[in-house]
Symmetry: C2
Subunit: 330 residues, 2 copies
């Protein structure tokens, strides 16, 4: 049953049916007629029926670096909420942090299948830059700063600096770090710079054997913690680039009798829901992921409506959340 | 630069370029010519160039009930792996457990945008059934049993029965349950039936005030645990439909001095990575999510190739993982 047949069945015009499914204005009488006809026929509007009014496809592509991440989910859910209110649906692709899949996803969305794109970005290569410059639809970057584009990002450096400083202020002398890929400017490089700056500002030296690079997973955090503790000298505090990495490091500590926070203070970035239920509750930096999602979605809407030609980079601040894992009296 | 221009630049045929990007056979000489031309031009194959060989769009739509779920991520990553080997990309939509969005996503994918659909299903309504029957492309259901369709599901009933039985065998007498929406036949209804059967088989009675229904979230688990413990009589064991619900219930226990497992044994379904790092490690049922993803993807490939006209329902078994949260000596 197409929209015309259904309109006939309901005894209303096609445009009334379209307004009904697009939440447009409709008299109560017509609304009742349409609802009765839906009851009778089980009619489901086709995608095209729902876009009769606006004549646009109403799809936004969102490129995600991974699926099993609370931060990614928070950002994406708020993007969906803001864009949903404007009648857009999201098409997501998951790249599993693989550059090639990111590139092919950008390419896929560039072929006019969607009206806009939001890239939840990790590593940005030259190939990304050249493809992004060629996008035919408005494109917003969330999570990284990239000149010449509309971006929403976090103050990763400040977050890492102050979370590390908190542990050093409590008397830690042998700070260690498990970071992410340094080609990822936000979660990798900036969080590392923040850590290093806090260590140097505290008058301590950076010990290269106390610096590890992990993948974004608990398993990788576990492996890197094992390596950190394999040497003769042991760290007394550990800053991790993400909560998942920290959870893996904590599992290693639990299995090997390393007491938190007595032997090792530990902290991270993300403020995941599970932080409070870990065997020692985890101190972590709250980044405003939901706000980032809303901000990115609103930027995209503005770019679609061409309300401004000026690109902007919005950097969101953060909150330090102290819990038991850093609760040591100096 | 399109594929013809690039082929000319590289000094090879269009079909050689296509074979290159589709991992087809290619002589070393031609491969070297193409790679040199990529270096020179920064050429990125367009989506159509990559599909010249097969003449199909090579997209599969996957409908997800939520994003921040480890089980969903595990299933989806393995679907992506199997289909990726066959040259398919996944387009995902997240419905946030909203039936209307599930319906509109099915409708979206029905409009010939994709070559196949995998629905990670929760509640199946009559509207789902009628839309699923009208799909023009092969469609596989993962997570639920639905007659007349190819499905991959778990033994939810057996999983819940045996996880509950384990706690009752250790002497629990006042079993409680925090379940999911009973309209969700797998995670909601079957897990509840399994719990109830175990209670009755142990010669105990079901206490309606010890049965709660939560949403699929930690926050909801916390609220329902609060309600469970608000009465005069307290449960001594608790089976939760998911690890997230259990983590929320555990947070309530931690904040309110309810000792696990001494005062309350607790267990769930999912075997999430974080179970081992919770403040009391959580006993949980391991469902074979990765296998379910692979199986679903292979079913879809088989249906695309029309190797069989017979629909099948594959039910996967489970493993009980005992940890500290149920470690009470009777």
């Amino acid at each position: 049953m197409n929209i015309s047949e259904f309109a006939k069945e309901a005894g209303v015009s096609v445009s009334a049916v379209s307004r009904y499914f697009n939440d447009g204005y409709l008299s109560d009488d017509k609304r009742a007629l349409i609802e009765a006809a839906i009851e009778r026929t089980g009619y489901v509007p086709s995608y095209s029926a729902r876009t009769v009014r606006s004549k646009v496809t109403k799809l936004v592509g969102v490129i995600l670096p991974k699926l099993s991440s609370e931060s990614i989910a928070r950002i994406t859910e708020d993007i969906g909420e803001v864009l949903g209110e404007e009648g857009f649906e999201l098409l997501l692709v998951n790249t599993s942090n693989d550059y090639n899949r990111e590139i092919s996803s950008l390419e896929l969305f560039r072929q006019n299948r969607v009206d806009g794109v939001i890239l939840l970005a990790g590593v940005i290569t030259d190939l990304h830059r050249s493809l992004l410059a060629k996008m035919r639809v408005p494109t917003i970057i969330v999570g990284q700063k990239l000149k010449g584009f509309n971006c929403v990002c976090h103050n990763d450096l400040g977050a890492a600096y102050n979370m590390t400083k908190l542990m050093l202020d409590k008397g830690a002398k042998r700070p260690a770090f498990i970071g992410a890929n340094p080609e990822d400017m936000a979660a990798g490089k900036d969080r590392r710079i923040g850590f290093e700056k806090a260590v140097l500002d505290a008058g301590l030296t950076l010990d290269p054997k106390f610096c590890e690079i992990a993948r974004f997973s608990m398993d990788s955090g576990y492996e890197k913690a094992k390596h950190l503790f394999s040497g003769r000298e042991k760290p007394d505090c550990l800053f991790c680039a993400t909560d998942n990495i920290a959870a893996g490091a904590m599992l290693y500590c639990r299995e090997n009798g390393i007491r938190i926070p007595e032997d090792l203070m530990i902290s991270a970035v993300g403020d995941s829901r599970f932080d409070k239920v870990l065997y020692v509750s985890l101190s972590s930096v709250h980044l405003h992921y939901k706000t980032a999602g809303r901000e990115g979605a609103n930027m995209l809407l503005a770019e679609m409506k061409k309300t401004s030609e000026v690109h902007r980079i919005v950097q969101l601040e953060y909150d330090i959340i102290e819990r038991e894992s850093t609760n040591r009296i100096g």
